[in-house]
Amino acid sequence: MLTLVKLELEKLLRAKSFYLSFVVLIGFVALMLWGFYTYAARKTGGQAVEQFKYTYESKQYFNGLTFALYSLLFSFTLLLPIFVSMSAGSQIAGEARAGTLRMICTRPISRSSLILSKFLVTAFHAGLLLAFFIALNLIVGLIFVGWGNLELYPGPLNLVDAPGKIMRDDALMRFGYAVLSGTWALLVIAAIALLCSVVFDSPAQAIVMTIAVYLALYIIGRVEFFEHLQPYFFTTDMDFWRDVFKPEIPWQSLWHYACLCGAYTTGLLLVTVVIFERKDIVT
């Protein structure tokens, strides 16, 4: 099993798409920095002060931690799932497309071990991507925006229902928690993509199908027509990862949704293994 994981890891590190995901994230952080910088300048400048007497958007509010939080929350919903889908969706379908799947399956390894090793490597990629993205945001935020406490207000980001504050050191710890909770949430998408990768022989098809399912549920979950269906979508359960940024972490709710995401992930993996074991590999 360990050898398998090592081999899969080598394949991952050789893939161009692996590095592409990091490059895109760097580009996103640069864009966020530009937007945040200009917005902060506008909102703490003369015009904003003239129009309204009171605001929380002071120079103290616009700090590196706020920048990192906004950047992370904006990207997590739509950007990171794409890279996770790409990584997981090409695992089996990519081998099939390259014509190497039959050869791999002739080796004296079980198909279930192969699936598991590919999933572990995908999980490693998702975790690394998130850790890199958070670290990059914090470093860029520290250098270009400055340090301070993390102030939270109701409305934007939908994190709190009353103004709250997380002290700097605690906030940094929360970003560490977010690497774990965020990766755990992204594994649901990884499991769907791996299932699609087994079902479809084309990696593009597997990736597009995964993103389509994710986006469809995400969009439907935000339309009030389907409000009563929202609790049954995995996209709703995945949102638990953000709870680590609440001033008081709701641990019970966090564990509940983490377990639900875990159930989705393990259930989908089980289905993937069963399908893959019965699949007639003709490529």
């Binding site: 309204f52 934007p156 009353a162 935000r222 019970q252 509940h256 377990c259």
Partner: protein, 275 residues
């Protein structure tokens, strides 16, 4: 085989974990309201109609039902919004059998008025000018030995978040200036849209304006009705009663969801605080 068994075991563990950590249902968590000694009971209600109607202001035919709710709940003071004017207030006061006195706000740019009703016969009423808009307030003494109370009835713009923000800033400034000499309560329909999930964008100016407004009020006041839940159709909590942040004794907080009649789109919010 072992991979499948491990996955099956993990799947079962996750399901069990999810069940174990599930939050108790609302009915199990909602305990009985804390009993407060000498209490002050306030009610706020936008008695206007939903946007789809020709006239979205309060309708005369609904006033008996409004009066019935007030008489049954017996609040010390009531803040009402979207009334048509003085004649409607007089009808309502008549239906309340002289138990309450009241006043209506001055007319601003709009065609609807805020009103305030108080049980105390010695209550004083005053208009509050907030730029181009108006609110109305009442000062009264709920109990002989207790401090004077000010209740403001307010209604912020339904369509423009920036207007809501300037209105709220002016209202809070006005209230803050009087908070030293009396216990000030602000009640009304503020139309704050604070649920980011309801917005199509991740970050909008409207959302930020409402966030700024609400956060500004909370700098000096406490949101007493938070535990009551949504106050209007479409899962919106847009009616509020704010009180002094030093208040610790909060009793009954309830949104009276069976009170709306006709095409009303708001429910009354009732809050009881210890004096």
């Amino acid at each position: 085989m072992w991979v499948k068994l491990v996955l099956l075991l993990l799947f079962c563990l996750m399901i069990l974990g999810a069940a174990h950590f599930a939050q108790p249902r609302e009915s199990e968590t909602a305990g009985s309201a804390v009993k407060v000694g000498t209490s002050l009971r306030l009610l706020t209600w936008n008695i206007g109609y939903a946007e789809l109607e020709d006239d979205t202001r309060a309708h005369d035919k609904d006033l008996p039902a409004v009066a019935d709710v007030i008489l049954r709940q017996d609040p010390d003071a009531v803040a009402l919004q979207e009334m048509t004017g003085n004649s409607q207030l007089n009808i309502l006061l008549g239906l309340l059998h002289g138990k309450y006195r009241g006043a209506i706000a001055q007319q601003g740019k709009g065609d609807r008025f805020e009103a305030v009703l108080v049980k105390d016969a010695r209550a004083k009423f005053f208009p509050i000018a907030l730029g181009a808009s108006y609110a109305v307030g009442a000062s009264f003494q709920p109990r002989e030995d207790k401090e004077e109370v000010l209740l403001l009835s307010a209604h912020a713009d339904a369509f423009n978040a920036a207007h809501r923000r300037t209105y709220t800033e002016a209202l809070v400034d006005w209230a803050q200036a009087r908070a030293q000499s009396a216990e000030v309560f602000i009640a009304g329909d503020f139309n704050f849209e604070l649920k980011a999930a309801n917005q199509t964008n991740l970050y909008t100016d409207n959302l930020k304006h409402d966030s700024e407004s609400y956060s500004h009020i909370l700098r000096n006041f406490r949101d007493l009705g938070r535990g009551g839940g949504d106050t209007a159709i479409n899962d919106r909590r847009i009616d509020y009663i704010f009180g002094p942040s030093a208040f610790e004794q909060l009793g009954r907080v309830e949104v009276l969801r069976d009170a709306a009649v006709g095409r009303m789109d708001h429910w009354p919010l009732l809050v009881e605080v210890g004096l």
